[in-house]
Symmetry: C2
Subunit: 499 residues, 2 copies
């Protein structure tokens, strides 16, 4: 058993796997950015071939043996190699249980469904998407049975996106969230709203593009390694820490939309840009977990981006680009407008206070859909009822309701809760950070990169070296506790609304 040889073999295997991931990732990125519309089938042919190889790499006996051997003797290996073998073993164990053709078909289904979803959302046509949603749910459940037939399918899915979390963690979390936030949300809903009309004046897209560049500059994002493009639904993808892509969507009459998409995706981007060099092209290169990733994106978006200190540096930039539209707007007015809390329809446009309620609705929907207690026929009605129940809003159509998010179209069931967990992690991380650096002074002085350095040092650089619960403990010196998140929101919004 040659340790050095095994270490090199594992490195080579990961580099090979990375190449396929890169190619498949780029095919996806291209599909939603530059590709002509009717190219799904053509792309699918290629994705089928590459996915098959990806599958084979993860199920080849030689590779399984290698990973098992390193795992069984992990103390003989360096920490990174040992961790890589552990993470790979988890993936291999799962995937090797799926028949190859089913795995490939699933990738093709996801590819096709994403395309259908785009059309369905555009045309407000849930019926078009419905049979795909049904197949996506059924196939996803089938997959969880292969993984672990003893566990509840939804718990398997949750664990997929946030290792160590299950309904047992999330039910009390969302229960406590409801108790803590719903009364405040309802109180604020009855209050007079700050003026936000100036944010809905006409902001030419050409100038919004310049604003995006400026925001990325303030965030210290290295444009030599990070590009921005435009898609229906903003997202971040990385092909390595050296090649990160973020996307946004410009609405001429919604200035705040792209600003906060760019800052949010920029937060994801910074996580990737700052993972350690030595982790690149390996399985540990892509951030600890979805929740930790969201903690970063939402940290920049809300905690930093919607703070008084950030408004102080944002306003002059906006005034430069849009002097007419913003005439008479001071920091106070901008701060209040950007933090207007109001029960609303669209998750990605939601304010910081109500955001987690949008997530909770999806969590409840997923629990019902996956358990079979809700059919895809009844799903839009259930969606609309939950929005009425918790947020008091009437959903006018499915494009503004159940069709708004892309996640289910890519079979990402169990993903949504990580958005809310991430928000809560973020505040816990802020508390720890404040012990070391003067966060708000740094923001006001335009020194966000110093905040990023703290995050890089405590979180980013580690990539996927730790599981989320361990990572959070390592970064904050305490276990996950959402109380600081609830208190932060109550404090911030009580002040804004003078309650």
């Amino acid at each position: 058993m040659n340790i050095k040889e095994n270490t090199q073999k594992l490195k080579k295997l990961q580099e090979t796997m990375h190449a396929y991931k890169h190619a498949l990732g780029l095919l996806y990125y291209d599909a939603v950015t530059g590709a002509p519309k009717k190219t799904t089938a053509s792309r699918g042919a290629t994705m089928g071939v590459l996915s098959e190889v990806e599958f084979k790499l993860m199920t080849e006996q030689d590779n399984i043996n290698l990973v098992n051997e390193i795992n069984e003797n992990s103390s003989d290996y360096d920490a990174q190699t040992a961790r890589e073998a552990l993470v790979l073993k988890r993936d291999f164990d799962k995937i090797s249980k799926i028949p190859m053709q089913e795995y490939i078909d699933f990738q093709l289904l996801v590819n096709e469904s994403d395309d259908i979803w785009h059309t369905a959302k555009e045309n407000n046509d849930y019926e078009l998407f419905k049979p795909y949603l049904k197949r996506l749910i059924d196939t996803s459940i089938k997959m969880t049975k292969y993984y672990d037939s003893n566990k509840d399918p939804y718990d398997v899915m949750l664990d997929e996106y946030e290792k160590g979390y299950s309904v047992k963690d999330l039910d009390p979390y969302f229960e406590s969230l409801k108790e803590n936030l719903l009364p405040l949300i309802q109180k604020i809903a009855a209050e007079p709203k700050p003026d936000t009309s100036f944010l809905n004046k006409s902001y030419p897209v050409e100038k919004q593009r310049i604003l995006s560049d400026k925001l990325m500059e303030i965030m210290g994002i290295d444009r030599n390694h990070c590009a921005i493009s435009e898609t229906e639904h903003p997202f971040t993808i990385d092909f390595s820490k050296y090649d990160v892509r973020i996307t946004t969507h410009y609405y001429e009459k919604m200035l705040a939309s792209s600003i906060y998409s760019v800052i949010h995706e920029g937060g994801h981007g910074l996580y990737e840009l700052n993972t350690a060099d030595e982790l690149q092209y390996g399985t540990l290169a892509n951030g600890c977990s979805m929740g930790l990733h969201e903690s970063q994106s939402r940290f920049y978006e809300n905690i930093i981006g919607r703070s008084k200190s950030f408004v102080h540096i944002l306003l002059p930039i906006l005034n430069d680009l849009f002097p007419e539209q913003l005439e008479g707007i001071d920091e106070e007015k901008l701060y209040k407008a950007l933090n207007k809390s109001e029960p609303s329809l669209i998750r990605i446009e939601a304010d910081e206070l109500t955001y987690s309620i949008h997530v909770m609705i999806r969590y409840e929907m997923e629990k019902m859909l996956i358990s079979g207690n809700l059919s895809v026929d009844d799903a839009p009605k259930a969606w609309n009822e939950l929005y009425k129940k918790y947020l008091g809003v009437d959903v006018p159509d499915n494009a503004h309701g159940i069709l708004q998010d892309s996640h289910w179209a890519s079979a990402s069931f169990g993903y949504f809760p990580t958005y809310s967990l991430g928000s809560a992690y973020g505040v816990q991380i802020l508390s720890a950070m404040k012990k070391d650096i003067p966060v708000w002074d740094l923001v006001e002085n335009g020194e966000i990169p110093k905040i990023t350095s703290w995050l890089s040092e405590h979180i980013h650089k580690y990539g996927r070296m730790y599981d989320p619960k361990d990572m959070l403990y390592k970064a904050c010196g305490e276990k996950f506790n959402p109380d600081s998140y609830f208190n932060y929101l109550k404090d911030k919004f009580t002040k804004i609304y003078n309650l």
Copy 2:
């Protein structure tokens, strides 16, 4: 020997090869469109892995055996399968002679060199590019020795891009071209020039983008299967007939530049869009040869795009978009301006008459560089001297000289002559076409798709079913004969300049 089984195996092999070609093609396309600047190394890692697999597919004994067996019994197979096996055998025979690591290193060198060339051109820095050019030449020569050590390296390269052509064909061709065209070019150089100043007014890029859409519409290009994007050097790439990409480059003060890039690349695009469905994902899907491909692009660009009939439909479109810039311009003025012939510096901006001289200069350069009669140190000087000798122009710097084209940066030595051959093929094809359809009436009536139908029926649909000499004979009913090309140019330009 099961014929059906072998046929299916060959199909599967080609689909697999196609997937890697697609992925590698997309990595390249992405590199020159959306990718951040400093991503070459990261992309190279992936390209290395995928190229290695591509190489292995072409050198695997099972695949070689399959291809050989079909070739040896080709009459037992359907025509497409037999031809596919023949074309694959040619590629396999070549590539199997190259040591794998050298093949991969060459791909990486090309990837890196293309990147360096972009920077070198941008900064007018030949010294930066020079060592790469040297390595590209040396490695390309080394490759030809593997292929066929008995043949002259440059002949091997020429055959690579235009099967069946060698210096023996091209020396007399360019000799005849010189005799036929240089006297006319020199005569016209002494004549007063038509006014073209209006083409260099300010044409906002935003509106030029709309013009591109309009041009693609007139050409009948199906946007569901063909996208346009922007790059330093315009090109066309296809991932299948269902997914074609063309690119252009907008210059605010050069209206004609992007117009003719779009029409040229659109011509390439139409070739791909119209190959037969049954050839897709196989080795015959991508057009007969470089020369035939150029015959199509230059047919649309020059024969159609710079005709009086096309000017008749172009002017109203331009007037709609740029009424102020084009005030007082009539069809006659526009036609003459778009056909101004003048010895100049940049190949892709050159007029139809002088264009082949630009190509000839590159042909002469390549002959010298590949034979070792010219060093990369002396290459810029030689380039400038040839421009002085044939076109009478002084090259002010290398960005406008030897660095202007991307071809050598991707080791495409022997590619340039196909541009001139293609121009000549195009006129021969026009003569054949005119016997069947009223070409100029169709253009004037905006019925270019009917012309495309003729081309699809006689050329496009066949893909790579025939070698270029056979394809041309099949389409035109005669062997290659450049006289009609020379006569066409003499006739057209004598009239324009009233000589």
